[in-house]
């Protein structure tokens, strides 16, 4: 089972520079645990105690998983998961 995961520039330090890696799992949560076993520390950049981190966007194919089932979103062979850090900021 292979799910393609696209990694943004700032997280490529965890993947030895790779912009794309592969993982397995039947939910997004399981996939991230699987990825972390191969790329230690990666999961912690995406998940905190409350679930998916607030300013990291994760997409299953072309949908933001916040509009699906978050970490419980089912994933399957052939899916593409994309991670993009949110672009944000403010006056303070």
């Amino acid at each position: 089972m292979a799910i393609e995961v696209r990694i943004p520039t700032i997280l490529r330090t965890y993947t030895d520079g790779a912009k794309q890696v592969e993982g397995a799992g039947s939910t997004l949560g399981e996939l991230l645990v699987d990825l972390d076993a191969k790329h230690s520390g990666l999961r912690d950049r995406l998940v905190d105690d409350g679930g998916l981190r607030r300013f990291v966007n994760v997409y299953l194919n072309d949908e933001d998983v916040r509009f699906l089932a978050g970490l419980d979103t089912p994933v399957k062979d052939g899916d593409t998961v994309t991670v993009l850090p949110a672009v944000a900021g403010g006056a303070v």
Binding site: P8, N57, A86, G89, V92
Partner: protein
């Protein structure tokens, strides 16, 4: 240094003025590795706030995918400050996650004179850079 065509500079300022008092935000895309901003992409500020901006996540996905398909990258990421100086704030620095981009700040605090400055933000370090507007 940021070299930016006059028309793109003016579009950014016009966008900031149009959205004032909310913060405006967007991207200038250019060919990957060229450091040349070529394409103006104003983005929706999903926060619609005078003190915060955030790209809409679905729009961001579409724009980033389009850039990838055309072998482009975000050369400039811009946003405006509507009551404070055109300098990266603490939150601007925390959320600066494209180390290759020029971070342009525009301030619309003065109704007549917009401030337009550019910075590199790499690993939490802010370095201001000169802006050359190319006519």
């Amino acid at each position: 240094m940021l070299a930016i065509p006059r028309d793109l500079h003016d579009k950014i300022v016009a966008h900031a003025r149009a959205d004032h008092p909310d913060e405006a935000c967007g991207v200038l895309a250019g060919p990957a590795g060229s450091d040349r901003p070529e394409r103006f992409i104003p983005m929706t500020n999903a926060a619609r706030s005078p003190t915060f901006y955030e790209f809409d996540s679905t729009e961001q996905f579409r724009v980033w995918r389009e850039m990838d398909d055309h072998d482009e990258e975000p050369v400039v990421i811009y946003h405006s400050h509507t009551a404070t100086e055109a300098y990266p704030s603490r939150t601007d620095v925390s959320y600066a996650n494209e180390p290759g981009a020029h971070y342009v700040l525009v301030s619309t605090r003065d109704p007549d004179q917009a401030e337009f400055r550019s910075f590199r933000i790499i690993e939490g370090q802010v370095t201001e850079e000169p802006v050359t507007v190319v006519e």
